[in-house]
Symmetry: C2
Subunit: 375 residues, 2 copies
């Protein structure tokens, strides 16, 4: 247990250091892209359009490398598509001529804006291409409307696009080359940490249950309950990380087609386990427990402890095997272990009613096994 | 039950219609702001800066009225602050003169960029002012760097700010005046819907439990389990909605200082209840149930049904009272009801082990009562 608290302490400081690192990286990227303005020969090349490079860096640079890549590529696609369609709309409107021009441009802005916004609200699009469609709307609008003013839209669009590419390049280089912060590492580590959190929490629960003979110790309960709730509420965060991780290139121990969706499945199962943990804690804290005679409690003590031990060990082992990314054991071994556990729990069942709850875990763990086999 | 499925059906169509409505509103706002370009007298006033108005509308216009307001105000604050500090930095750098100027500007960009990014990563700031700090960085950078080029920065900043205000005005007007979509309504309705979802799910669970005598019906189980999981995973969404709701002005039945944080507390309790539901379902589905003799099961049938009925009714009542926003009954009445329930459950406990689980609910519901009293 000491080892684990040490681990979480060092993780805290790592988080603080990461934020600092990220800030410094943003500062570097901004200073680099400002050179476009500050160095005279560069400024003569790009002119006022350097503004777009700065804008791109500020908007695209995100905490995780995958997020930066995803936003940058989205921005690029959105600009190209929106610019192309905008040019088309502008030239069509030019051919109409007269006041009809303004009306045509206004209508095309309305139609494309509404259509793209509706497209954007579709959940699957929203998840991956939300930013891209926004940039599409923006670029289309700017190009279609300013094209009417008779300027050389194409040249303008080309220049802007090139500065956006420069901005993207600066952002991606600083994000990926200077101590990159990978969303995939984060997802991997947080999944592994969840296993040990739940194992700790099962043990804490058992300690608590056995302690109630002597006197209550509410602090510990609330701390394990908090960590369970953190696991329970991790869905949104996990999905975000998996989404970014998919954009990240091959690096470290992760290949190109690492099964990120598997992490989400495992997360789902861990959340169910956390839900059971929370309700088990409710049972232990309940005043009904005092209705049981001490004899009844003592009789249920041993099987409970055994079940909790096995569960905690299995969780730790699974966590470790995910951490090292290898099949923990041969399929048969794990399954036979689960079956033994099942038997033990049935025995416990007959002697004590409280272990009814513990049964849930075993069910979910057997589903785990199937999943882990696929890794 | 028929009533509830009808309700959810109509909600589906309402959601589709809302997306369509939102798209049309965005289209209208874009067409309106494009008039700055398209109508000659207006264009003579603002010139190329009309671009910033379009950009503001595209970026600021969000689905919920509160989100639009929050983003717009953030953008305004960020622009003013960043512009002001940027002007200061530019004039200071001017006074240095020579190549020192460029170095001074570069360093100030680095320092302010890194500091603001670090500030942005603080959770409480990130939650409400993330967008504002981003705009601050952007504006500061643009102004500080382009100020070196000796243009009349102040005039430029003033013009841009005024077009941003125009864009903000157009976005907020269309968002708030044409069929506004309120985040507060959404939060309120989703909280109420959670109550009825859980009530339905308790009833479904009981039906399922009693049906296992005859034959299994796995479809129903998985559907109620899905709805429970939806409640379980609602935390991130709820927090986002509450965050937007705080920005929304007085409207409909909600006052200015509506206790949105209370909704989050209630949501937290409902999630705990959903966690218990899921683990209860695990118990019912478990093969251990078959170990119980039919006699044992029949003996536990009646108290189980009674408890489930009372729970479902209480949940519905609470949901209804939140919906109508009045204290459902006098404090004493509700508490006495809960105490009766507690007694009944104790009786049930002595006769059957399965109801151990049902006990959790009762615990949580008593915490509910305290919370509801405060509404």
């Amino acid at each position: 247990q000491h080892y684990y608290s040490l681990l979480s302490l060092s993780r805290e400081t790592i988080y603080g250091a990461r934020n600092l690192l990220h800030s410094i990286k943003v500062g570097i990227a901004l200073a680099l892209v400002s050179l476009l303005y500050l160095v005279d020969p560069l400024f003569e090349q790009v002119g006022e359009n350097a503004m777009w490079a700065i804008m791109t860096v500020v908007v695209v640079f995100e905490f995780f490398a995958g997020a930066t890549l995803s936003k940058g590529l989205n921005r690029g696609m959105g600009t190209v598509l929106g610019g192309g369609l905008g040019c088309l709309a502008a030239t069509l409107a030019q051919e109409i001529g007269g006041t009809g021009r303004a009306i045509a441009a206004g209508t095309s802005v309305f139609i494309f804006g509404a259509a793209a916004t509706y497209y954007r609200s579709i959940p699957t699009i929203k998840k991956r291409y939300d930013y891209g469609t926004m940039i599409f709307i923006l670029t289309f609008n700017l190009v279609a409307v300013s094209g009417l003013r008779g300027e050389e839209v194409l040249a303008l669009a080309r220049e802007r696009l090139s500065t956006i590419v420069i901005g993207f390049g600066v952002a991606v280089m600083t994000s990926l080359l200077i101590f990159p912060i990978w969303a995939s590492d984060e997802l991997h580590n947080s999944t592994v940490a969840k296993f040990s959190t739940l194992a700790l929490s099962i043990e804490g629960c058992m300690d608590q249950y056995l302690k109630t003979f002597n006197g209550k110790d509410d602090n510990e309960i609330s701390s394990t309950s908090d960590s369970c709730k953190k696991v329970l509420n991790s869905k949104a965060n996990d999905e975000m990380l998996a989404n970014f991780a998919k954009w990240e290139p091959w690096h470290g121990k992760f290949g190109f087609y690492h099964p990120w969706d598997k992490y989400l499945c495992i997360g789902e199962l861990l959340r169910e386990l956390a839900a059971s943990m929370i309700s088990l804690r409710g049972c232990i804290q309940s005043p009904l427990q005092t209705l049981l005679s001490p004899q009844q409690r003592f009789s249920s003590k041993e099987p409970c402890e055994a079940v909790a031990m096995i569960l905690a060990c299995t969780l730790r082992e699974f966590g470790e095997s995910i951490n090292r990314m290898r099949k923990s054991r041969s399929r048969a071994l794990v399954i036979s272990k689960v079956q033994i556990m099942r038997l033990e729990i049935s025995e416990a069942m007959s002697s004590a009613s409280i272990t009814e709850n513990a049964h849930n875990y075993e069910l979910e763990i057997s589903t785990f096994v199937v999943l882990l086999m696929e890794m």
